[in-house]
């Protein structure tokens, strides 16, 4: 099967990016290097091609009711022009996907889903809808870029206007920009920094959309905007303590185990799919997600065992050397008895024991 390409693929290749297969797409993992791209995002601004992400459009008079049932957060409280983080759960309370919901109008929602879960999520939503909304897989209809970092707001002000630059976190507006009509500009992101995400509608304006990448780099150049690949996207999200599906989240993990209680409204009117199971499982949780920081230079990686006093108590789900933290960091599922901050852990790094301790997340505070 040949890899799919985002509208900006040719620009990545021309810039000499190292390309890797990711969720069926040929994606840039790095341009200059993970560390310089990471630090450029924290220090100024980074430009990310996230067009591989999927989108499901949910519309109709029953759209709100449908999403109230399918998703974990308070969809009814989401106003048009607002965005909200949600978990899509199964009957056992496991996470089918973590999604961001953008309410375009009273009866019109855009659900941004993980690239690898696009087909699974669309099938799940259509099969488990109780209320009769209309679901359309719009994954091919949108390109997406993220501008993240403390200077992102200056770039967006130059690109749009003061109203957009003044958007509150998790709000969005629609604008025509750089020759592309109907762009959703949202103050959202995944890096732990202030920033914006641009949803660019492709149909009928593919060429204009493709030209957005170099135009943004040129416009952002005075503000230090640098292209950033998936490598630094991962180290940035990990320092920010954000979960990544397939690592911290899975069909077997409840959102409460993953520390997503703040988006899990167990008592919302009518409940939601999976809520009963989550409620039952919460009293007997066998594991809970914690952040840890290493005291040596050894880097814990996904799948490594976590020990306390020689006994296995958990497993690492993500680990890296945090470029801004300056130390090995990671997330791990551990027994609740050893989940308290400052608990001393040992991580088995290929047979060598690496000391670490539980720390609060996020690991850093961004702009």
């Amino acid at each position: 099967m040949s890899l799919r390409r985002t509208p900006f693929h040719a620009h990545h290749v021309a810039a000499g990016a190292r390309m890797v297969p990711f969720a069926g797409f040929d994606m840039p993992v790095q341009y200059r290097g993970v560390k310089p791209e990471h630090l450029a995002t924290r220090g100024a601004a980074g430009l990310f091609d996230v067009s591989h992400m999927g989108e499901v459009r949910v519309t109709g008079p029953k759209a709100e009711d449908s999403l109230m049932w399918l998703l974990s957060n308070a969809i009814r409280r989401l106003q048009p022009g607002g965005a909200q983080y949600n978990a899509l759960c199964n009957e056992a309370g496991g996470v089918v996907d973590d999604v961001f919901v953008y309410r375009l109008a009273a009866d019109d929602f855009l659900v941004c889903v993980n690239a690898a879960n696009r087909a699974k999520d669309f099938a799940w939503m259509t099969e488990h809808d109780r209320h009769g909304a209309t679901f359309v897989d719009e994954g091919d209809a949108w390109a997406q870029v993220a501008i993240q970092g403390p200077r992102a707001v200056d770039i967006v002000r130059a690109l749009c206007d003061d109203e957009v630059a003044g958007l509150k976190r998790h709000r969005f507006v629609s604008r025509d920009l750089l020759g592309v009509k109907g762009v959703l500009v949202a103050r959202t992101g995944y890096t732990g920094e202030d920033g914006f995400e641009l949803f660019l509608p492709l149909p009928g304006q593919e060429d204009a959309v493709a030209a957005v990448w170099p135009a943004l780099l040129e416009l952002g150049q005075p503000h230090g905007l640098t292209p950033v690949g998936l490598g630094a996207r991962d180290t940035l999200r990990l320092e920010a303590g954000n979960c990544l599906y397939g690592h911290e989240l899975s069909d077997d993990t409840t959102p409460l185990q993953a520390g997503l209680g703040w988006i899990t409204k167990l008592r919302k009117p009518g409940g939601f799919l999976g809520a009963d199971a989550i409620e039952q499982r919460r009293h007997t949780e066998e594991r809970v997600l914690v952040g840890f920081k290493g005291a040596s230079k050894r880097i814990a990686r996904e799948g490594m065992k976590v020990l306390v006093d020689g006994a296995e108590v958990g497993v690492v789900t993500s680990g890296t050397l945090g470029p801004s933290v300056g130390a090995p960091i990671g997330l791990a599922y551990v027994a609740p008895s050893v989940a308290e901050v400052d608990t001393e852990l040992t991580i088995d790094v290929r047979g060598r024991m690496a000391p670490a301790h539980v720390v609060p997340t996020p690991f850093i505070r961004g702009s």
């Binding site: 290097g33 993970v34 490598g231 290929r350």
Partner: protein, 122 residues
């Protein structure tokens, strides 16, 4: 790709400088480029005795870990402690940034010269 003529190379992308019965060992330009930004080198201990093909140490980058092997049997007689704090020196200068020195008894045979190594990694 930089492949100096005066070195030997292994199938695992180590380079070897032979000086009498002491081998100086590092990883090649190709290896450092494949690994990306190195963040940690787990150096072997001076005095440790290694068999041919034994793992001598690990080099870890932002995204991957690679093992470095003893190309022939011998005793580790020196390690480059500068790399403990500055693993990225291997990225900047892979042939200047040796990792360890191995004192050997036997012969150094069966490795690739620069031409053969260039053909392998091209």
């Amino acid at each position: 790709m930089n492949i100096p003529e005066d070195l030997l190379y292994t199938d695992h992308d180590e380079w070897i400088r032979v000086e009498g019965n002491v081998l100086t060992i590092g990883i090649s330009d190709f290896a450092q480029d494949q690994l990306g930004e190195l963040v940690h080198v787990e150096l072997p201990e001076v005095g440790s005795e290694l068999g041919a093909g034994d793992m001598a140490c690990e080099v870890e980058s932002v995204k991957a870990v690679a093992e470095v092997y003893a190309p022939v049997a011998g005793t580790v007689v020196a390690v480059n402690e500068d790399l403990e704090d500055e693993a990225e020196k291997i990225n900047e200068d892979p042939y200047g940034s040796w990792i360890f020195k191995l004192e050997i008894d036997g012969a150094v045979e069966g490795f690739l010269d620069a031409t053969a190594y260039a053909a392998k990694v091209s």
